[in-house]
C-alpha cells in the first residue's frame, strides 16, 4: 500500500492527534528503520559497482581482449584466454542444460501436473536450485575428474550444466503454466497429437519466457567459481581448443590473480571482475524485462 494511498492517509491523519505517543514513536522507528535498510542495500550495490569501475577501468586496454594471461611477475598481457575458455564452457553448459531443462519443465507442466512423482521432482528441483554449488563441484570431481585423471574443461561444463538445469526447469514450467489451456484444447480438437500440441502451441506461446529462463541460467553460471575450482581449474596458457585439460576461465583467474602478490595480475583480476559483473547484470536486467513482458501478456 502506498503512503500516498488515500485510504491509508485517511485512516492515519485524524488518528494521529489521538494516538498515544508510544504508538507514534514505534511507527516512526519502523518507517525510519525500513527506509534505512533499503538505502543500505542500494548503497552496497552502488559501492560494489563503484569499486569495480574505479579499479577495473584502468585495466581496460585493447590487450585485455587480445593477449593471454602473463606469467607471474611479468608485465603486460590480457585475459583473452580466460574470456574464451569461460565462454566455451558456459556455452557448452547451456547447450547441455537447455534440452534437459526444457523437457523436464515440459513434463512438470504438461504431463505430470498434479501427479505424485511430479510433485516430488518439482520439490527436489527447487532444492537443487538453491544447493551449494561447491557440492556440485565435488560431485563432478568424483564423477569425471577422478576417473579421467585430469582436470578438464568438459568436467567444468558439466558442473555448470548441473547448476543451470534447475533454473531452466523452473522457468519453463512456470511459463508453460501461464499458457491458457483453451489453446491446447483447440489444438487437440484439430486432431493434433499431444506432443505436437506441446511443441507447436504451448512452447511457441511460452517461448519468450523459456528464453528468459535460459538467460537467467547463463547469468547464474557465468560467475560461478567454486565448482570450477575442482573441475576445470585453470591454466595460464592459450586456450588450445582441447577441453581435455585444465581450461583457463574468468572466475578462477580472478580468484587466483586477485589474491596474488603481483600488481599486474591484480589489475587484470579487477578488469576481469568488472567485465564479468557488468555482463551478468546486463543479462539479469534483460531477463527480467522479457519475463515482465511475458507475464503481462
Amino acid at each position: 500500500m502506498d503512503a500516498s494511498n488515500p485510504l491509508a492517509t485517511a485512516g492515519r491523519t485524524p488518528a494521529v492527534s489521538r494516538v498515544r505517543s508510544g504508538r507514534r514513536i514505534a511507527d516512526r522507528i519502523l518507517i525510519l528503520a525500513s527506509t534505512l535498510a533499503t538505502l543500505l542495500g542500494i548503497l552496497v550495490l552502488g559501492s560494489i559497482l563503484l569499486m569495480l569501475i574505479v579499479e577495473g577501468v584502468k585495466g581496460f586496454t585493447p590487450a585485455l581482449f587480445t593477449a593471454p594471461t602473463p606469467g607471474p611477475g611479468s608485465e603486460g598481457g590480457g585475459i583473452a584466454n580466460a574470456i574464451l575458455g569461460s565462454l566455451v564452457m558456459t556455452l557448452i553448459g547451456i547447450v547441455i542444460a537447455t534440452p534437459i531443462g526444457l523437457m523436464a519443465g515440459t513434463f512438470l507442466a504438461e504431463y505430470g501436473r498434479a501427479s505424485k512423482i511430479a510433485d516430488v521432482i518439482r520439490f527436489l528441483n527447487d532444492v537443487l536450485l538453491s544447493a551449494p554449488s561447491i557440492l556440485i563441484g565435488l560431485f563432478v570431481y568424483t564423477l569425471m575428474v577422478r576417473p579421467m585423471g585430469t582436470y578438464s574443461g568438459w568436467a567444468g561444463a558439466v558442473a555448470l550444466a548441473i547448476i543451470a538445469t534447475p533454473v531452466i526447469v523452473r522457468t519453463t514450467e512456470d511459463m508453460l503454466r501461464l499458457v491458457p489451456s483453451q489453446m491446447r484444447e483447440a489444438g487437440a480438437a484439430l486432431g493434433a497429437p499431444r506432443s505436437l500440441v506441446i511443441r507447436s502451441i504451448a512452447w511457441r506461446a511460452a517461448s519468450a519466457g523459456v528464453v528468459t529462463g535460459i538467460i537467467l541460467a547463463l547469468a547464474r553460471i557465468a560467475g560461478e567459481t567454486a565448482p570450477l575450482l575442482f573441475t576445470a581449474l585453470n591454466n595460464n596458457s592459450w586456450f588450445n581448443a582441447s577441453l581435455l585439460g585444465g581450461v583457463p576461465n574468468l572466475p578462477v583467474m580472478i580468484y587466483q590473480f586477485a589474491l596474488s602478490p603481483y600488481p599486474n595480475w591484480q589489475s587484470l583480476a579487477w578488469a576481469g571482475a568488472l567485465l564479468i559483473t557488468v555482463t551478468i547484470l546486463v543479462l539479469s536486467v534483460a531477463a527480467r524485462l522479457v519475463i515482465k513482458d511475458q507475464r503481462a501478456r
Binding site: 500500500m1 492515519r12 542495500g41 550495490l45 544447493a131 561447491i134 560431485f139 567454486a226 559483473t277
Partner: protein, 324 residues
C-alpha cells in the same frame, strides 16, 4: 475445381494426403520429458552418493570422532570437522542476525512505504544484488569492507572491551586485520538480504489488500498494521524465506574464502579468523590427496546433510519462491 479433383486424386493415390500422427513419436516425446525430469532425481542421488563414496575412507578411519575432533594436521594425518562446522554455523547465524532485520525492513519498505513510481526500480536494484557473483562479494569484502571494518570497528571495539569479562573475549581482535568470522557473517548477510527480502515482499504482496485497508481504517499505524496484520499472516513463509537464506549462507564458498581468514583453529572471538566447511574445501582441495582428500569430502558430506535439511524445511514452508 480441377485443382480440387486433382488433389483428391492425389490424396487417393498416396493413401492419405496427410500422414496420420505417429503414435510412437508421441510416446517418444513423452518418454524424453519423463526421463529428463527423472534426471533431476538422479543428479541429487548422484551428489549424495559420490560424496559419501569419496568420504568413506575418512569416516571409516575416524568414525564418529571426526565430528568432535578439532585436529587438522596434514603431517600426522589427523583430521577433525569441529572447527569448520562451528565456523560454518557461527558465520551463518551471524549472517541471519544481521541480515534478517534488514531484509524485513526492505520488504516492509517496498510493500508499505515506497512511493509507487520508485517501487519497480528499487525492487530491481535490491534483486540485482542477488545476481552479483559471489567472488565479487569476496573481493569487495576483502579490499573495500575489511580495511574499513578493521579501522572503524575492530580497533575501537577491541580497545573498549579489553579486559572485560565475556565481551573482552568475544569481541577482542588480537590482530585487527579486518578479516574474521564476523566479517564473513556481514558479507553473507549482504548476500542473503536480496533473497529473503524479495520472497518476503512477494508473500506480503499476496495478503489481501482488504485486510490492510480495514486495519488502517480503524486507525492503526503502519507499525501496527505490520506487527498485527502482515507478520501473523505471512509468518510461516517468512520463516521459510529466512531458512532459505540460511541454506545459502551455509553453503556459500568464494565470498567466505576471501574474508574469513582461513585459520584452522578455534577461537572464542568473532573478530578472529576462522574457517567454514566450504572455505576449507575451496582452500585445500587442489593440493590434497589420500586421507586429507577424503576428510575434505567428509566435510562436504556434512555440508550436504546440513544444507539439504535446511533447504527442504525452507521449501516446505515457502511453497514456490522466486527463481534464483
Amino acid at each position: 475445381m480441377t485443382a480440387l479433383t486433382q488433389s483428391i486424386a492425389l490424396a487417393r493415390a498416396s493413401g492419405t494426403a496427410r500422414t496420420a500422427p505417429s503414435k510412437s513419436a508421441d510416446r517418444l516425446f513423452q518418454g524424453a520429458a519423463y526421463a529428463s525430469a527423472l534426471l533431476v532425481l538422479a543428479v541429487l542421488a548422484g551428489i549424495l552418493g559420490s560424496i559419501v563414496y569419496g568420504a568413506w575412507p575418512a569416516f571409516s578411519e575416524f568414525g564418529f570422532g571426526f565430528l568432535t575432533s578439532s585436529a587438522w594436521n596434514i603431517g600426522t594425518e589427523q583430521f577433525g570437522a569441529l572447527p569448520a562446522v562451528i565456523g560454518t554455523v557461527a558465520a551463518a547465524l551471524l549472517a541471519l542476525i544481521i541480515g534478517v532485520p534488514v531484509s524485513l525492513g526492505i520488504a516492509v519498505y517496498l510493500t508499505q512505504l515506497c512511493p509507487g513510481w520508485a517501487r519497480k526500480p528499487v525492487a530491481m536494484t535490491i534483486e540485482l544484488l542477488a545476481s552479483v557473483p559471489s567472488i565479487i562479494y569476496g573481493m569487495w569484502g576483502l579490499f573495500v569492507f575489511a580495511p574499513l571494518f578493521a579501522r572503524f570497528v575492530q580497533v575501537p571495539v577491541s580497545n573498549l572491551v579489553e579486559g572485560m569479562p565475556v565481551l573482552g573475549t568475544v569481541l577482542y581482535a588480537r590482530i585487527p586485520s579486518g578479516v574474521g568470522v564476523l566479517t564473513a557473517g556481514i558479507i553473507l548477510a549482504i548476500m542473503i538480504v536480496p533473497f529473503v527480502a524479495s520472497i518476503t515482499r512477494d508473500m506480503l504482496d499476496q495478503i489481501p489488500t482488504v485486510l490492510r485497508e480495514s486495519a488502517y481504517g480503524i486507525g492503526c499505524t503502519t507499525w501496527e498494521v505490520v506487527r498485527h496484520v502482515l507478520v501473523p499472516q505471512a509468518s510461516v513463509s517468512i520463516i521459510g524465506a529466512i531458512m532459505l537464506g540460511l541454506g545459502r549462507a551455509l553453503g556459500e564458498t568464494m565470498a567466505v574464502t576471501f574474508v574469513i581468514g582461513n585459520a584452522n583453529r578455534l577461537s572464542a572471538s568473532i573478530f578472529d579468523p576462522g574457517s567454514t566447511i566450504a572455505s576449507r574445501i575451496a582452500n585445500e582441495f587442489n593440493e590434497a590427496d589420500g586421507l586429507q582428500l577424503s576428510s575434505l569430502m567428509a566435510l562436504g558430506c556434512l555440508l550436504f546433510i546440513i544444507t539439504f535439511f535446511v533447504l527442504i524445511v525452507a521449501r516446505l514452508l515457502v511453497r514456490r519462491a522466486k527463481v534464483a
